[in-house]
């Protein structure tokens, strides 16, 4: 059987199912499960033969379809009361309809006049999709850790032995850094590390920055190797 292959457009198993329903001009509330399952499995076979990485989700939906079919085949239990048994397909239909409405919403979003596609604004020195200038590369956590090691090795070893009673918490430090970023941007990594009085606060400062990066609250940029690391808020 010849199939029109449009594999690249399927965003997932539900999308494939919706496509099959549309293609066969089927009433979504009355899906012929056997037919759809058959076609669905054929599509999966095509995808597999093309060596496409089949996500596990496709298999989950395939088994759901087969499960529904088997429930439809089983004779209904005789019940004393007149309570109607729910259609085994109801859950899937609900899911399909919900997905379809968001697909619609996505198309609606895409049809708007999009900035940088349909309309443009002035570009500024700092491009907001890329806070750094041309010569600045975004850093990962490891770069930051390395910079931290450099700084610590530069610090006076004697000083590091002093024990101070002062307590600080990671969330305090995070809040401090975010507050300062709200006032000035960018913050220089060396500045905030060097102003820390002792090893403990240096560690807390680094942990705070790492945590903020992980939470995507801040971003770090560096202009070339060994350059100054600048920290920006990420929103």
């Amino acid at each position: 059987m010849a199939y029109e292959i449009r594999l690249d457009i399927f965003e997932g198993p539900l999308d494939l199912l919706l496509y099959l329903i549309k293609k066969n001009e089927i009433d979504i509330y009355n899906i012929p499960i056997a037919l759809i399952t058959y076609q669905y499995l054929q599509y999966m076979e095509i995808m597999r033969s093309l060596n496409l990485d089949l996500a596990g989700e496709y298999l989950v939906l395939a088994s759901t379809l087969i499960h529904i079919k088997s429930r439809l085949l089983l004779p209904r239990e005789e019940k004393d009361d007149f309570e109607e048994e729910p259609d085994p397909r109801a859950e899937l239909v609900k899911q399909l309809l919900e997905y379809q409405s968001y697909k619609e919403a996505a198309l609606c979003l895409d049809s708007r006049l999009l900035l940088e596609r349909d309309v443009f604004k002035r570009s500024y020195g700092i491009n907001e999709t890329d806070v750094a200038g041309d010569d600045e590369t975004e850093l990962n956590l490891f770069d930051l850790v390395k910079a931290f090691q450099n700084l610590v090795s530069r610090m006076d070893k004697q000083e590091l032995l002093e024990i101070k009673g002062e307590r600080m918490s990671l969330s305090d430090r995070i809040n401090e850094i975010m507050e300062r970023l709200a006032q000035v941007q960018p913050l220089m990594f060396t500045d905030i590390i060097e102003e820390a009085a002792d090893k403990r606060s240096v560690i807390y400062t680094l942990l705070a920055i790492l945590e903020l990066m992980k939470l995507r609250m801040v971003k770090a940029y560096q202009s070339g190797p060994f350059g100054v690391i600048k920290i920006f808020t990420a929103f």
């Binding site: 539900l14 996505a106 609606c108 979003l109 999009l114 900035l115 596609r117 349909d118 443009f120 929103f235």
Partner: protein, 172 residues
């Protein structure tokens, strides 16, 4: 203030993000917000009447100068950029926009497929952000849309989005 409209126009041009009426009033000082609003709409009309390549657009809670949409082919030649969001990212974004605040597992469930990749792209493009963590076991991250989302999608605010119900009616 004779000068008011001129100042407002200059402020908007110099601002990187859409400039709100509140911000304009705060900068100029000693000025009624209603007056700022009136002047803004004057400028909007002037640009419209002029029928040039630029218009003043109300977007993301503020005002911003933008090129006219039919100028896009030329500007694309100038900039050589292509704005693109994959269908997966768009679907994920739509779910977040309509469902926010929302956790990833809910997005996965609606789309029937893992949303990790598209979600990361949306975060990188600052169209969505982390709003917090849900107080349930595992403390999953809660996502919401950003101001940048409104700016990019040409929306004054979230209420400008058609409701899911309206979309369904549109389809029928």
């Amino acid at each position: 203030m004779e000068y008011l409209k001129t100042i407002i126009e200059a402020l908007i041009l110099a601002s990187e993000t859409p400039l709100s009426i509140e911000k304009i009033a705060e900068i100029i000082g000693n000025v009624d917000k209603k007056e700022v609003y009136r002047q803004l709409h004057d400028i909007v009309r002037e640009y419209k009447d002029r029928d040039g390549g630029i218009c003043l657009q109300e977007v993301a809670g503020g005002f911003q100068f933008r090129t006219r949409s039919d100028m896009a082919p030329w500007i694309k030649k100038l900039k050589g950029v292509k704005y693109s969001l994959t269908p997966a990212a768009l679907e994920t974004l739509a779910i977040i926009a309509y469902h926010q605040p929302v956790v990833k597992s809910e997005i996965d469930k609606i789309r029937g497929v893992d949303a990790g990749g598209p979600l990361k792209r949306l975060l990188d493009r600052k169209l969505v952000r982390i709003v917090g963590r849900k107080d349930v076991p595992g403390k999953p991250i809660i996502y919401g849309t950003t101001k940048r989302f409104l700016e990019v999608f040409n929306l004054r605010d979230l209420s400008e989005l058609p409701t899911i119900q309206e979309l369904k009616e549109l389809e029928e």
